[in-house]
């Protein structure tokens, strides 16, 4: 399988804080990759750098073989990377359907609306298409954000805490959608704190700590990796009685 998204040695600091430190990550096409790490480890910063919302101090980002380092967000989107935000960002004063039409590229109105409706039905909020997005509940907004990111037919989708702050059945709903899209060929990179979600869904997990990659591999291996436990729990964890489940973090 070829590598779809790759970062190489990305450095990013904010003032005195090193948010990303020689961060090198590889995502293979067609996989669902997870990105985990304690709070402040640089996960969202990495997303921001990849999608052009932040400039890397050094290092490169590649999509397939194309260098997209420091490209503007709209170029990144056009290249085929979609991205959601930790705190959902939708357009509250526009209706749900209008939200879907913002990223639409087609010149024919009917085609745009058809695609939008299809995606709204896919995530399950089609009934709300005429309501202002600002009135949606938090969970519905997450679904809307996922839907409109899909409008651009991206090859890879970066999800920032898709399971954060929503009830269990919605979490499973979202996980199902991701599986379906993955089965259809879409690649995912997911930042999450919900370990069950990550372990159940991801083929590959990368762990960040203080901006550097600490471990990478299949979920089962990574969750028991010493360095991962250190990252989440601090360096002086005891020898005996370590429950690997503690790696679920804060």
């Amino acid at each position: 399988m070829s590598v779809l998204l790759r970062t190489e040695g990305v450095h990013k600091s904010y003032g005195g804080v090193q948010a990303l430190d020689a961060c090198t990550v590889q995502i293979e096409e067609g996989t669902v990759a997870g990105l985990i790490g304690p709070n402040g480890s640089g996960k969202t910063t990495l997303f921001n750098v990849i999608t052009g919302y932040a400039k890397a101090d050094s290092g490169e980002v590649y999509l397939s073989d194309r260098k997209i380092t420091n490209a503007a967000p709209d170029k990144v989107f056009a290249a085929g990377i979609g991205r959601t935000f930790q705190l959902t960002r939708i357009f509250p004063s526009l209706t749900v359907m209008e939200n879907m039409l913002v990223p639409a590229r087609s010149t024919r109105v009917a085609a745009r609306k058809a695609v939008a409706m299809e995606l709204l039905e896919f995530v399950g909020i089609a009934g709300y298409h005429a309501t202002p997005a600002g009135t949606l509940s938090y969970g519905q907004r997450k679904l809307l954000e996922l839907a409109y990111v899909l409008v651009g037919d991206p090859a890879i989708i970066l999800l920032d805490e898709p399971a954060g702050g929503v009830n269990l059945s919605l979490v499973n709903n979202i996980a199902d959608r991701i599986r379906q899209l993955n089965a259809a060929g879409k690649t995912f990179l997911i930042v999450e704190h919900n370990m069950e979600f990550v372990m159940g869904l991801c083929d590959q997990v990368t762990v960040l700590d203080s901006g550097a990659v600490v471990a990478t591999g299949p979920p089962d291996i990574v969750r028991t990796d010493r360095r991962v436990l250190d990252a989440y729990l601090g360096e002086d964890i005891g020898e005996a009685g370590d429950d690997p489940d503690d790696a679920e973090g804060t």
């Binding site: 056009a78 960002r89 939708i90 357009f91 039409l101 913002v102 896919f122 499973n172 259809a184």
Partner: protein, 356 residues
């Protein structure tokens, strides 16, 4: 009555109401021949145009401009300078109006390129700064006539019907900008503007060419404001630096839009129709002008504090609440998780009009 039939009735009612309004506007000078009244009409329509032009940019995009007078005054001066230098007289002066619009647009482009690159707070201040630059230029340059300003060529029309052609020209401008606003709002252009208003960075991230969209709206706004400035100049037959570039003008049109409802189509129209005749009346009544300012400020405060979203949206909400007494207005809300979507495979559905 089915909800579909009800909807059709509502749309029909809306269009009929619109037709009645337009007919009334067209017949106004015919019915009310008194020049005092048609004078009110002319000014009201000038401000309807100006407020709607402001709204097309600031209302939709959320970038509050307090410098529209830049275009207004420039349009006025453009007509005045052209009339003087090209020796245009009589009704020929009206042919200069497109020039006013062109000047407005020409100024808007560099103005926008500088001003639209910054954050919203800074944008407002830049519009104010540019406004003062233009006022200063009008005072200090000789070709603008300095502090005495410029006169407009004399029009040998009878006093009784003098106002009427101006009324209809202003009406045409007003209908023009209102129609444009309506079309824009329905089009993708308007959608992008409103998305920018809600979350510009997110819109950019989704492929919206923010600078282009903002600049286009800004230029349109500038062109129309310049045009109506030219009309105003010809009607008033003179322009001076402090009347062509008047900070109260800027504030008034914003107040009108806010009173009626920023971002709506009818809002600025309603606001202008309420405020402008009022302002005019106060100016005439209290020639020792300062009451006008106090009152304007006071009305502003009241509007912002009590009707912050404007009459049209607030009124619309009341109507909706009345109409849906007891019934839920939203579709029966099932939690999203319980809706089982058909398993549609988006990647395999036909040629996507989308990316590419």
């Amino acid at each position: 009555m089915t909800s579909q039939a009800r909807a059709r009735l509502a749309t029909g009612a809306r269009w009929s109401a619109l037709a009645v309004l337009i007919a009334a506007a067209l017949l106004f000078p015919v019915v009310f021949t008194n020049p005092v009244l048609t004078n009110y009409g002319v000014f009201a329509l000038i401000f309807v145009t100006a407020a709607s032009a402001w709204n097309v940019f600031s209302g939709f995009s959320g970038y509050i401009s307090l410098g529209q007078a830049v275009f207004f005054g420039s349009g006025a001066y453009a007509v005045g300078i052209a009339a003087r230098d090209w020796h245009v007289t009589g009704t020929g002066v009206f042919a200069l109006l497109p020039l006013a619009a062109a000047v407005g647009a020409a100024i808007a482009v560099p103005f926008g390129l500088v001003a639209l690159r910054v954050r919203r707070h800074t944008f407002i201040v830049i519009t104010i700064a540019v406004f003062f630059i233009f006022q200063l230029m009008a005072f200090n340059f000789s070709f603008t006539g300095g502090s005495s300003g410029l006169p407009a060529p004399f029009l040998p029309w009878p006093a009784a019907t003098y106002n009427n052609p101006f009324y209809y020209i202003a009406l045409a401008c007003a209908i023009g900008i209102i129609t444009l606003s309506w079309l824009i709002r329905r089009a993708r252009f308007g959608l992008h503007l409103r998305a920018i208003r809600d979350d510009e960075d997110r819109a950019r991230g989704l492929g919206v060419r923010a600078m282009r969209v903002k600049l286009a709206a800004f230029t349109l706004s500038g062109a129309v404001t310049g045009l109506i400035g030219g009309v105003w100049f010809l009607y008033l037959t003179q322009v001076e630096p402090q009347t062509g570039f008047d900070p109260l003008f800027d504030l008034s049109i914003v107040l009108m839009a806010f009173l009626g409802g920023v971002g709506t189509i009818a809002g600025p129209v309603l606001g202008a129709l309420i405020i402008e005749p009022g302002q005019l009346y106060l100016t005439i009544r209290f020639t020792n002008g300062y009451y006008g300012e106090i009152l304007l400020g006071a009305i502003f405060l009241v509007v912002v504090l009590f009707v912050p979203r404007g009459i049209i949206p607030t009124g619309g909400e009341w109507i909706r609440r009345l109409a849906t007494r007891g019934r839920s207005a939203l579709p029966t809300a099932l939690p999203a998780a319980e809706v089982t979507p058909e398993v549609r495979d988006p990647a395999s559905s036909g040629p996507r009009g989308g990316a590419g």
